[in-house]
Structures are given as C-alpha cells and as structure tokens.
C-alpha cells in the first residue's frame, strides 16, 4: 500500500514538474511528445534534433517530391496539438550519462532528464568509397535536403540515372525517374527487386514491373566503382559483370544504418542493429537489464514481438514509428501495472509504377507463399506467406482493401495454406509455392526488416557494441 502510494506520488510529481527529453525530432519524437501532453504531462519537454527542420514526413520524399508533385519543404508533419516544447534543432546529441541522467549535445550543452526517449532513427547507408561518394551527382535519399538536391538534379534532364539497390526506396526512385521520362538503370545484387523484403516470387513480379516501364534492370550484379570526370562530376558506374553504365546521376539506395553511435560507451544496449528494448519500449543496458527511465521508439528500436515468437523486430515502417511512440509515451507516464506492450502488427506501404503495394506481418519469416486473390500478371492480387503451418504475413498489389482481413488472419495464427475459398480466386492461387527469400548470409541491399534472437527470458545474451 505505502509502496504503491509512494510510486503514485513519484508519478504525479513526474507528470507535474518532471523533465522529459526526446532525442530525435522526427516522426516518432513528435508523436511521442504529442501523446505525452495529451496524457497530461505538464513538466518540461525538450526535443533534440540534429536536422535544422521541424519534424517532416519522409515517405513523400521518394514519391510525390521526386515526381515534382509536392515540394520537399511542404512535407512538414501536421501537428495534432500544441506541445509547448523546448526545441533544440540543428544540434546533435553526442553522448549520454546514464548515472547522472544527462544528455550531452554537440554544442557543449547538457540537458538533464527524468525520462529519456530515444528516437534517432536510421540514416542512409552511404556509398562505401568516400571519395566516390563525394562526387557531384551522387545522392542518397533519407532527408528533406537529400530530396531537394536529387529532385533538382532530376529536373536538369540527366541523360541517365543509376540507382544502386532495388529495395523499396530504390524502386520508388526508379519509378519516379521513369514517370519523368528519364533513362534509368537499376543495379541490384539480389535476384530481383524487393527480394529481401518480399521474397523471390513477388520479386519476379516487381522485376516485370520495372521492365514493362522500361527500366534497365540489372540483377545479380554489384556496382564496383563510381567514376568521376576531371571536374568531380560522376560520369559512370562500373558493374561486377564488367559492364559500364554512363550516368549523370547516381542514387545510392543500399538500406540504412541505425543512429546509435552517439551512445557508444554510455552503457546502453545500443549497437549497429539498433537499441534493444522490452515490449514496453524500455531500453536494455549492455548487461541485458532493462532500464526504467530510458525508452526507445521508431526505426532505431528493436523490440520483441510475442506474435512472432518473441523475435526482436526492427522495423523501418512509418506506422510502427507512430504506434511505438504512442506506447512509449504512455508507458513513460504510467506505473508498471498500467504499461502496455507494443503489439503493433508490422505494416508497410509503397507506391511505384502506379501500383500501391502494402504488406502486413513479417514476410521474410515466411517460407511459402500463396496467391489467394487476383493475379500477379494483372499486378493486382493478394498473397499470404506461410510459416510452420500458419499465416505469418500478407502482401497486396493494388488490392489493399482486403488487407485488414489478412491482418486478422495473422493475429489469430490462422492456418496456412488457407483452407477456404475467396472471391477472385484464380487457378494459380490454389497451391502454395516456396516464398524464395535469399539466403540471409548473402546480403542484398538490406531488407527493411531484420529479425534476430528469441525471448530474453530463455536466452543468454552476448553484447557486441560495435563491428
């Protein structure tokens, strides 16, 4: 009784005059801040972001913005409410003192907290050769500034664009280039676009979409070097099969790296795979002990999911960032009995070559796939992924209105292959085939989902702080 009372008192105190610091002023950071205020947090709220901009939305950057249908500066995230925060924009967090509960900033300032939320996301994996990466005309696409630069380069009518990596972002960029009438070559190490995320069966459909739209798609090859001209402009890309592709613009789209370096040496369990946390978004320290005052959310987080065998999932998904931020914010202001697990069913969307692609669940866990509605040849279908006799994921091409049904199938561990008939079932949808994901030891551009490990309760954990 007294303990509970004391706890409540502490919580009330935190809500009234506590200090909450959020590092990473983007989607997850902003949404968490809004939720905290909604829940009556009246203390001081500090948002630290290394970008100079107010929080903005990234998905349009590789879609509407590259098409010239939206201006990058107009992607600022809508505010759900006023959050009355102390904004520290354009300055990175550079260190964390867990004992003193202090965040160090790049400008030498220090900010104290009672609760810390880390939402530093990921950044584009750069072209490994720094000299080549710095050539004029070589881009990555993660930030608003990246998008402004790339969009400008595309407006200058380049003779050819080379996209390295055919994951979601790379494919969207290729699609935008074609819609603008630009010649584009896509080089992908895997056997097809999107294989890492959706497997070879769907990858083949994606490959046909590229070809139909006259993308020069090269699969099973790597770009080995970028060549510049004497003025420092990129001129060509060299491929592992000996080919050379001349291009004025090269977009490096090789997946992402987690922004965790600033936590090195802090004692927090943060590494190249992100920051491990429990299902309630509380971060683990390097000893595998959960902290009670440090929370994580969004692309940088890695959390166990009961529905998927307690595997630790890191998801680079918009919806995940929103849902996880909400849960983290709720839990930061709750006593332990009131905390909620982050039980979001992974969901992702993309739009390319005029087709709306959506997935739910964790496709890369699937070993088999079955087309349940529609037809891949028409680019309009629904497919489910099977794993050990149950439905583990689903994907739709221009068919997303059915997706809630499949999501429920995943949530209720429905059997695979699905035993029932559906509207729009075609002959090819009557039997499962191997989903054909690449051997995980052979890297593609890096899938959007990485899975590793099992329940912290039944596994010994070894921690490797860096590579």
């Amino acid at each position: 009784m007294t303990t509970a009372g004391a706890h409540d008192g502490a919580l009330e105190h935190l809500k009234r005059e506590g200090r909450i610091v959020i590092v990473g002023a983007s989607l997850a950071g902003l949404r968490a801040a809004e939720t905290m205020r909604e829940k009556g947090f009246a203390g001081s709220l500090t948002l630290i972001g290394d970008e100079p901009h107010e929080p903005y939305d990234r998905p349009p950057l590789s879609k509407q913005v590259l098409l010239g249908n939206a201006v990058a500066d107009h992607t600022t995230l809508p505010r759900r409410r006023a959050i009355d925060a102390d904004w520290r924009l354009g300055v990175p967090a550079t260190g964390l003192d867990m004992a003193a509960r202090r965040v160090r900033l790049g400008n030498g300032d220090e900010v104290e907290y009672d609760r810390l939320l880390i939402a530093t996301g990921v950044r584009a994996r750069p072209w490994p050769n720094a000299e080549e990466a710095s050539l004029d005309g070589v881009f990555v696409l993660r930030t608003r500034d990246d998008a402004v630069g790339l969009q400008r380069a595309l407006t200058d009518s380049p003779r050819r664009v080379v996209v390295i990596g055919a994951g979601f972002t790379g494919s969207e960029i290729a699609s935008a280039c074609r819609e603008r009438g630009l010649n584009v070559t896509v080089a992908e190490r895997g056997s097809a676009p999107l294989v890492g995320a959706l497997g070879g069966v769907i990858g083949e459909v994606a490959a046909e979409m590229h070809r139909e739209h006259e993308v020069d798609l090269r699969t099973g090859v790597m770009v080995t070097a970028l060549e510049g001209d004497p003025s420092g402009r990129v001129r060509a890309a060299h491929l592992s099969d000996g080919a050379t592709v001349e291009a004025d613009v090269v977009v490096v789209s090789l997946g992402a790296q987690r922004n965790t370096e600033w936590l090195a040496g802090s004692g927090l369990g943060a590494g190249p795979r992100g920051i491990a946390c429990d299902a309630g978004c509380r971060a683990f320290d390097v000893r595998g002990i959960v902290t009670d005052d440090i929370y994580v959310a969004g692309d940088v987080a890695r959390s166990p999911h009961a529905l998927f065998g307690y595997q630790f999932l890191s998801l680079e998904h918009w919806g995940n960032a929103v849902a996880q931020a909400d849960t983290a914010a709720h839990n930061m202001l709750s006593v332990s009995a009131d905390r909620r697990p982050h039980l979001w069913v992974p969901a992702f969307w993309s739009s390319q070559f005029g087709v709306n692609i959506k997935s739910v669940g964790v496709p890369p866990m699937g070993t088999e796939i079955m087309i349940t509605q529609g037809s891949p040849a028409e680019r309009r279908f629904a497919a489910v992924y099977g794993y050990q006799g149950r439905v583990i994921a689903a994907v739709t091409f221009d068919n997303c209105r059915w997706l809630p049904f499949y999501e429920h199938q995943i949530e209720s561990t429905a059997p695979f292959p699905p035993p029932f008939s559906t509207v729009d079932r075609r002959p090819e949808g009557n039997k499962p085939v191997p989903a054909d994901f690449p051997d995980p030891s052979v890297p593609t551009h890096g899938p959007t989902i990485t899975l590793s490990g099992y329940s912290p309760a039944d596994r010994k954990m070894t921690f490797t702080p860096g590579r």
């Binding site: 509605q373 529609g374 037809s375 209105r401 059915w402 809630p404 029932f420 559906t422 509207v423």
Partner: protein
C-alpha cells in the same frame, strides 16, 4: 425472438426511431433464426466482414433466399439489365468500378467533384430562392422542394443528361426510388409493371444517349463511359447502361436522405445549427457525424458466404444470406463513446455510414460535398426554421431510411452570400 426483432425493425411503426431495436439486436452480435438471414449488428464484426474475401456480393452465390423479408430488394435492378458492379465480385467488380472511376475521381480525374462546386452552389441557391418565391413559408416540404430535386439535378449534370430531358429523368428517378419502398397497400402487379416499364424507358433513353455520345463525346461521364479506352478496355453497351442506371439511383436516393436526415437532426439540435450558421466549415464534421448517427443506408442486405465461416462464435454456413446492419454498428458503444449522442466534435469518427472495403460508397466524395453545401446553405439562409412535425412521416423502406416529407416553417429566406 431475433426474427421477431427483425420484423420489428422492418415494421413501419418503428421507422422513425429504430435505434432502441438496434440496441437490443447488438446483445447478440450475430443473430439468426430459422430460414432468415444472419444479421450482424456490432461494429467490429461488420467492419471485418466488409473486408472478408469469403463474403460475396454476387446474388448467384446465395443458396436460398429463404424467409427474407426484404427479399425483393435483392433484385432491385430487375432482370432487364445485367447486375451493376454493386452486385458483382472481383475481378468483374474491380474492372467496372475502375472504368467508372476514371472520369470521376483520382488519379485520372482528381478535380471532377471539386470542379462541380460552383455549379452545386448555384443549384442549392436556386432551389432555396425557389422556396422563397413559392408562396407560403408557413409550410415548406424540404424533401419535395429541396432535398429531392437537388441530387437528381446533380446526377443529370454529372452524367451529361441534357437540361431539357431533366423533367423526364426526375419522373423515372421518382418511380425507381419508390420501387425500393415495399408498399404493403399497393397493388403488387401494378407496381411491378410500372417498374418494368420505367426501367425499359430509362434503359432505352440511356442507350440512345450513349449511342449519341459515342459519336459526339463531351466532357460528361456518360461520354467517358461510352468511349472508355483505358487499360481495362471498354464497357459493353449493357455494362454502360447498368452502370449509369446505378449512378442514377444510388447517386441520389441516398443523398436525399442524407440531406433530409441532416436537416432534421440539426433542427433537433439548435445549438449545432447555430454553430453551422456562423461557420460553414463545420459542415464537414457535421456530415461525417450524420453518416454515423443517421446513415441513409441503414443496412446492407446483399451479402452471402462463399464457405463456412465463424463470426463472434457463430458458425455461418456456406451460401447463407448476411445482413450487415451498418446503422447499428455505428451506435456500438464498444466503438463509440456516447454513441447515441449527436456530436460533430467527435474525434476518430470511423463510421460505417459509407460502408468499407471494395464496395465502399463510390459516390462518397460527391455525396459529402452535396450534403455539406446543402446543409450550410440551408442553415445560413432559412430564417428561424422550425420543425412542424416531429417525427416527420418516413418512407416505408428500412434499408434506405429517411423522411418522405420534412415539413418546416420559417420566417423568411435570407439573401444568398455575394
């Protein structure tokens, strides 16, 4: 017991306020009795069935109509025209809906509905002016004088029906809408005949128009349906006919009720009416809340199961008839706080008023815009409006529910905004 409840819902005596019956119905999320349909009344169950690919809209999948008190509505479009996409499953549904959508909405025609705004404004103001010049303001029937003629004129404009033919169109629309009214006192043989005649006449008329538009296409939807040549190819003449008939019927009867239910609700909530008068932008959340609180389509009686399924613990066999009571789901306290309260400030108002899934209301953007403009103009221009009968007399139909007349009085008609 449940069947008795169903009968009560269909009973005209309960038309004015079916909501207590829905509340009773929700105690059993899926109710079934004897040969009757499986009636689904709770929000989450309805919504998931609207997205369930094991559920068909194609009447051919219905095993036996059984004791279906609304059985006649199952073939409301008659045998003379092929089923519209409303009564088809993918891939046929998708193809026809896609072709129809090309001239109507994004991505190919993102501005169609928006660009009708000025015209809609003109129609609304003209009709309200007409109320002013019609003589007595002591008794105005908002249905006959406003809520009914407005959507018919809109659909004529949209389809490209020549102005001089509009009066004939009104008569056809009237007769066909009445066919949705099971009238226990009428002579069924007589009704059926006049219905078939009307359909024939309308069909012939549309066929003539389509033929003419094939030769001389304009910017209207009929022209574009007649000459569609997108990636999905062209519609056959019969498909174009059934589609335009669908647009005509679905495109106005629902909107009439939305506007009428809307005005009735506003007159019952004078505080909200006053707020709307001062702020036309409030019409947006008001219309959303109306679609939840008094949806024009109360239930979807046309679905069937393609295989045995289980819903809320009830096994429903293959070929069974399903009724999805949208209006009941919209008042499910498990989904909406204070569901029986009309609250335009409601957040997270994901109602079922326009359905959900692949059959979700095709005309939603137009219906919304029509209702928003109509209600804000009525609020602004009617001086001191008063309800003369509460409840007003309702139409017979339990599916497309709304007042047949809405008698009001007012002190004057205020001038339209400059």
């Amino acid at each position: 017991m449940t069947q008795a409840l169903l009968r009560e819902i269909i009973d005209y005596a309960n038309r004015a306020d079916p909501y207590p019956l829905y509340e009773e119905l929700r105690k059993t999320p899926v109710s079934h009795d004897g040969d009757g349909p499986y009636v689904v009344s709770t929000y989450y169950e309805i919504r998931s069935l609207l997205h369930d690919p094991r559920i068909s809209s194609d009447a051919r999948n219905l095993k036996a109509t059984g004791d279906d008190p609304l059985g006649q509505s199952a073939d409301e479009e008659g045998a003379d025209l092929p089923p519209s996409f409303l009564r088809l499953d993918p891939p046929d549904h998708d193809r026809l809906r896609r072709i129809t959508n090309r001239p109507f909405g994004p991505p190919h025609a993102p501005r169609r509905v928006h660009d009708m705004r000025a015209e809609l404004h003109g129609l609304v103001d003209g009709l309200i002016d007409g109320i002013g010049t019609s003589g007595t303001l002591d008794r105005v029937d908002l249905v006959d004088q406003f809520a009914y003629p407005f959507p018919v004129s809109v659909i004529c404009r949209l389809l490209g029906v020549p102005r001089e033919d509009e009066p004939r169109f009104h008569v056809w629309a009237d007769t066909l809408a009445a066919s949705l009214d099971p009238d226990p006192d009428g002579d069924p043989g007589q009704r059926a005949k006049s219905m078939t005649d009307t359909r024939m006449e309308l069909g012939m008329y549309l066929a003539g128009l389509i033929e003419e538009r094939r030769k001389n296409p304009g910017d209207d939807m009929l022209s574009q349906l007649a000459t569609s040549d997108g990636p999905d190819g062209a519609m056959t003449t019969m498909e174009a006919l059934s589609t335009s008939a669908l647009l005509l019927i679905a495109g106005h009867e629902t909107t009439v009720n939305l506007i009428t239910n809307g005005m009735l609700t506003l007159l019952r909530h004078p505080d909200v009416l006053q707020r709307l008068r001062e702020d036309p932008a409030l019409s947006v959340p008001i219309v959303e809340e109306l679609l939840r609180y008094e949806p024009p389509v109360q239930l979807v009686p046309q679905r069937s199961t393609l295989c045995d399924i289980e819903v809320a613990g009830v096994s429903i066999p293959k070929g069974a008839s399903l009724w999805l009571v949208l209006a009941s789901g919209n008042r499910d306290p498990k989904r909406f706080e204070n569901p029986d309260r009309f609250d335009p400030d409601r957040k997270d108002n994901q109602h079922l008023g326009l359905g959900s899934g692949i059959h979700s209301c095709f005309g939603a953007p137009l219906a919304r815009q029509e209702a928003q403009l109509a209600l804000s103009a009525l609020a602004r221009r009617l001086d001191n409006p008063r309800l003369l009968e509460d409840p007003p007399p309702y139409r017979q139909n339990a599916v497309l529910r709304g007042p047949r007349h809405l008698p009001i009085a007012c002190d004057g008609i205020l001038p339209k905004a400059a």
